[in-house]
């Protein structure tokens, strides 16, 4: 234990003395969180939509034409019952369902009010969510057209309103950023933790200081733990900064328990840092470590479910994503931050990440050789 105290003291001194590093750790995540969510705002075409039309009216048909003519949507099916349409979502053929209720036209004309029902396919979340947003816009436009059509210059009182009630439970404003920011934060924490740890031991190899360590009777697991803890603390700090940016810049606050989020992060960081240290023990120069870390990061990020939903990946890719710690973190971030999931919901994720942490760190300790 005393040994670890001395290791930590030394490690923290070195980190804080490295002004560039400290600046990078503090500034980079903030800047990236401000820029990336803006840049990652992409348009999706060919959103598959199933429409359940209970109202055989001109207005309903008119709305459907509007939707299909917009260029964003492809009409998968026109159904008469919601269950039929749901089957299309379940088989992944449809991303969205729009339900036009009975008496749509009548209510609109008589009461100047009507609700439409939109359900999105949570499996291909990004696409469906964007689709939902487009659909809302189209309906809003349609709504305005209705107003124009009906409005007599003298009758300005009640305007007909179509209220869209999307069952888009966890992201009620269909805010793309709300969806991306937690994921991007997960990736930033992963990258910073992974790179810092991957480059650290190998740096000691490169400058030769590891020799002086290896010739002492230091225990290997002490050494690894002494490396792990400082980066673990830094990871926590970066994450906290990121949450603050999410809150201040995007107004995002976790729906779920903050303690739970940190609890998961605590485990997750052990896994990521363990992988970094493992890379460090296998390489001889920082350049090699950088390339290998980069290789893993690329795969992890691309297969994390941040940009493309894991469920829409081919099955071999699904297997890889199950071996990808980042995918668990992004999932948990979205679950806890957006949905407000509780401990019971993320237990499987915690289990997986715990296994990663044990495997990577044990492997790193075993592979770190004091005697070559």
């Amino acid at each position: 234990m005393r040994t670890i105290r001395f290791l930590l003291e030394k490690e923290f001194r070195q980190i804080f003395r490295n002004k560039t590093l400290v600046a990078m750790i503090m500034v980079v995540p903030v800047v990236q969180l401000l820029i990336l969510p803006l840049a990652a705002n992409y348009e999706v075409k060919n959103i598959n939509i199933s429409i359940v039309n209970h109202d055989n009216s001109d207005y309903a048909r008119h709305l459907i034409t509007r939707i299909t003519a917009s260029g964003y949507f492809r009409l998968t099916s026109l159904n008469t019952t919601f269950d039929e349409a749901l089957a299309h979502i379940e088989s992944d053929e449809a991303d969205l369902i729009l339900k036009i209720p009975r008496n749509f036209e009548k209510n609109l004309v008589r009461e100047n009010k009507q609700k439409l029902f939109v359900a999105v396919n949570a499996i291909n979340g990004v696409k469906a969510n964007l689709g939902g947003a487009y659909l809302a816009t189209i309906i809003r436009d349609f709504n305005q057209d209705l107003m124009l059509e009906w409005f007599q210059p003298s009758r300005t009182s009640q305007q007909p309103v179509i209220a869209v009630t999307p069952t888009n439970w966890y992201n009620p404003y269909l805010n793309y950023r709300l969806f991306m920011v937690p994921g991007i934060l997960a990736i930033l924490v992963t990258m910073i933790g992974g790179y810092l740890s991957a480059l650290n031991i190998v740096k000691e190899k490169e400058v030769g200081t590891i020799e002086q360590i290896n010739v002492t009777p230091i225990r290997k697991h002490h050494f690894i733990v002494g490396k792990l803890i400082p980066f673990w603390v830094l990871g926590m700090v970066v994450f906290t900064l990121g949450l603050l940016v999410g809150w201040l810049a995007y107004g995002i606050t976790p729906e779920g328990n903050l303690g739970l989020l940190y609890g998961f992060l605590a485990l997750y960081l052990l896994a990521v840092l363990g992988l970094g240290l493992l890379i460090s023990t296998y390489t001889d120069t920082q350049q090699q470590a950088m390339f290998i870390a980069f290789f893993f990061m690329m795969i992890f990020i691309l297969m994390s479910g941040l940009f493309t939903s894991i469920d829409s990946m081919p099955s071999w890719a699904k297997v890889i994503s199950r071996l990808n710690p980042v995918s668990y973190f992004i999932d948990v971030m979205r679950m806890v931050v957006l949905k407000g999931s509780g401990l019971a919901d993320i237990i499987p994720h915690m289990g997986a990440v715990f296994v990663f942490a044990i495997v990577f760190n044990t492997w790193a300790i075993v592979n770190y050789r004091k005697t070559s």
């Binding site: 005393r2 040994t3 105290r5 001395f6 290791l7 003291e9 030394k10 001194r13 070195q14 003395r17 490295n18 400058v207 030769g208 200081t209 590891i210 020799e211 002086q212 360590i213 290896n214 010739v215 002492t216 009777p217 230091i218 004091k370 005697t371 070559s372």
Partner: protein, 246 residues
């Protein structure tokens, strides 16, 4: 005399290349043992095997009574090592380096405090103790390396070219430190390319292309080769070398 290092046909191969070839020798408690050889002769390689940093390819050796294959961690408790390449933390100060390694060797806080004050005083580093090591001149770095190597009062200290590139005055001071260590009973195993330093050793071995070609006191070696200085002894042996500096 008690032997604290014993090797028998100790060998290290890197692929087909034999860096250290069947070396057999003993080092006695309390002596200064000079380990000479031209560049690339295999000195560092041998020393790394004895300090538990590298596993031998064949042969056997014990250091402080412990086996170099199986008991490296126990060897490490009993030895100090100053590597040829400066390997303390340049981004820590003199005191922080001493404190860190003292802590790693399990010294108490009180012992660390006392030791570091004493060492800094003895090395004349008092005015530099709060400076980052990277900013120190080479001679002072080397003295600091030495003090870290003997911090935990090891039985044996291995010094790999401790005075390489250091000015003559500092070299003298350095040897004063080595003598001070031996007077405390520390056995010194030292490599050097300076033949005047070879004369300071109790016994020396001379390695050529991985093998030990001569081993005796400086006096006996000069007599054996019929020459007046260690320089000439070294020259006679080393010019047969095939290897050159790497």
């Amino acid at each position: 005399m008690e032997a604290v290092i014993k090797t028998d046909k100790l060998t290290k191969r890197f692929g087909d290349f034999i860096a250290t070839n069947n070396i057999t020798f003993e080092v006695y408690a309390g002596e200064i043992f000079g380990f000479l050889g031209a560049n690339g002769a295999g000195k560092t390689t041998a020393m790394r095997m004895l300090t538990g940093l590298s596993t031998p390819s064949s042969g056997s050796a014990t250091v402080a009574g412990f086996d170099v294959y199986r008991e490296t961690e126990r060897i490490k408790k009993n030895i100090g090592y100053m590597s040829q390449k400066f390997s303390l933390y340049e981004d820590l100060t003199v005191m922080e380096n001493i404190r860190f390694f003292g802590g790693i060797y399990g010294l108490s806080d009180k012992a660390i405090k006392e030791k570091s004050d004493m060492l800094v005083e003895q090395l004349g580093l008092a005015s530099e103790k709060k400076k980052l090591v990277g900013a120190l001149p080479l001679g002072w770095k080397q003295k600091l390396s030495f003090s870290v190597a003997v911090l935990h009062d090891p039985k044996i200290v291995f010094l790999d070219e401790p005075t390489g590139g250091v000015d003559p005055l500092t070299r003298r001071q350095f040897w004063d430190l080595i003598y001070a260590a031996t007077s405390r009973g520390v056995t010194v195993f030292v490599t050097t390319h300076y033949m005047d330093e070879a004369e300071y050793c109790n016994r020396i071995s001379i390695m050529v292309d991985g093998s030990i070609k001569a081993l005796d006191t400086p006096y006996n070696l000069k007599r054996e080769f019929g020459v007046g200085s260690m320089d000439e002894v070294f020259y006679k042996l080393a010019r047969e070398a095939r290897r050159s500096a790497d």
